[in-house]
């Protein structure tokens, strides 16, 4: 598939981030004669395309679920850092009950502090000042939300292609049914004329 840069409206794209667009067929008969396919092969081709689209859709939906779980996590972290920052000037310690293990909680006394540690993943934790931590978390939140938007747009494009393909399959099927009916009528007409 040639990689055209995705720009403009979704209708003009021949593909989007690796997902090929489903070509809209103006007229079934012309399409079948141009591609020199018979109805069954055309149907098989489009069915396979549909399956491929479904596979990609599953993948995108899984990515969407992951992102949708990540965003509230980041927001929670931001809330905690915000609370610590708000307490900074007062000098009083923050008493917090946290979960040590499932069902077991313990009390922590968090002194007035300037820094927090952030878990970055891959067994790495770094210490930041409250401002730096807030900035980093906000940045992560922005990126996650932007990725989610792109993903949602991809899913919409994909679903459009699925719809186009389903309608195409229906039309080719109807065309085929029609052709068979015509063929059935024609021989009976000839036999009626002979007798």
């Amino acid at each position: 598939m040639s990689s055209s840069s995705p720009s403009g409206t979704g209708d003009d794209l021949s593909e989007r981030r690796g997902i090929p667009a489903a070509k809209f067929i103006q007229d079934v008969e012309t399409y079948l004669s141009q591609s020199s396919l018979d109805s069954n092969s055309a149907l098989a081709f489009h069915q396979e395309r549909l399956q491929q689209y479904k596979v990609v859709e599953m993948k995108l939906l899984a990515q969407q679920r992951d992102l949708q779980a990540k965003i509230p996590d980041i927001e929670k972290c931001l809330e905690v850092v915000g609370t610590l920052e708000a307490r900074k000037g007062t000098g009083e310690a923050l008493l917090a009950d946290f979960e040590v293990s499932e069902g077991i909680y313990s009390r922590a006394c968090i002194e007035d502090t300037d820094s927090v540690c952030l878990w970055l993943g891959a067994n790495v934790m770094l210490e930041y000042t409250c401002e730096e931590a807030t900035a980093l978390l906000k940045n992560n939140l922005e990126n996650a939300k932007a990725s989610l938007e792109v993903l949602v747009a991809d899913l919409q494009f994909l679903r459009d292609q699925v719809t186009v393909t389903q309608v195409t399959i229906a039309r080719i099927y109807n065309y085929d049914v029609q052709q068979r009916r015509v063929k059935q009528v024609a021989p009976t007409a000839i036999t009626a004329a002979d007798s």
């Binding site: 809209f24 008493l95 917090a96 009950d97 459009d160 719809t163 039309r171 029609q178």
Partner: protein, 129 residues
């Protein structure tokens, strides 16, 4: 996709405009299902905040354990009340916005249904099954 049924074998010309209408209807329908879930979630959150507020009035402790992130911080009762009020207002506002979006979506879908049924009559099925 549960909404689109197969045509019943009659000769129907499908133009690009028709295809786009069908695509748009499908998008609207998906968004409607998402909205229904989001509205349900927001309503539950509202109810929970309401219950929390009521519990707070009945409680006689000065310090309340209020969940911030993953931990429960010891916060004075008044501050908790204020926070719960703020959260309730924010949730109600977002619930209103979601309901409005849902209404407008339902109207647009009804319009599209009229157009598509006019063109395709029996050959298309746009109902939930």
């Amino acid at each position: 996709m549960q909404q689109q049924g197969k045509s019943s074998g009659s000769e129907m010309e499908v133009t690009w405009e028709d295809q786009q209408n069908i695509n748009t209807f499908s998008r609207f329908n998906n968004r409607l299902h998402e909205l229904v879930d989001e509205i349900k979630f927001a309503k539950e959150k509202c109810d929970n905040l309401e219950d929390a507020g009521n519990e707070l009035i009945l409680a006689d402790e000065e310090m309340v354990r209020f969940q911030i992130g993953e931990v429960f911080a010891h916060v004075p009762k008044d501050e908790v009340e204020t926070r719960i009020e703020e959260m309730k207002e924010a949730t109600i506002k977002s619930l209103e916005k979601l309901e409005q979006e849902k209404e407008s979506l339902v109207l647009q879908m009804a319009e599209l249904k009229k157009v598509l049924y006019a063109k395709f009559k029996d050959s298309i099925n746009l109902e939930e099954d």
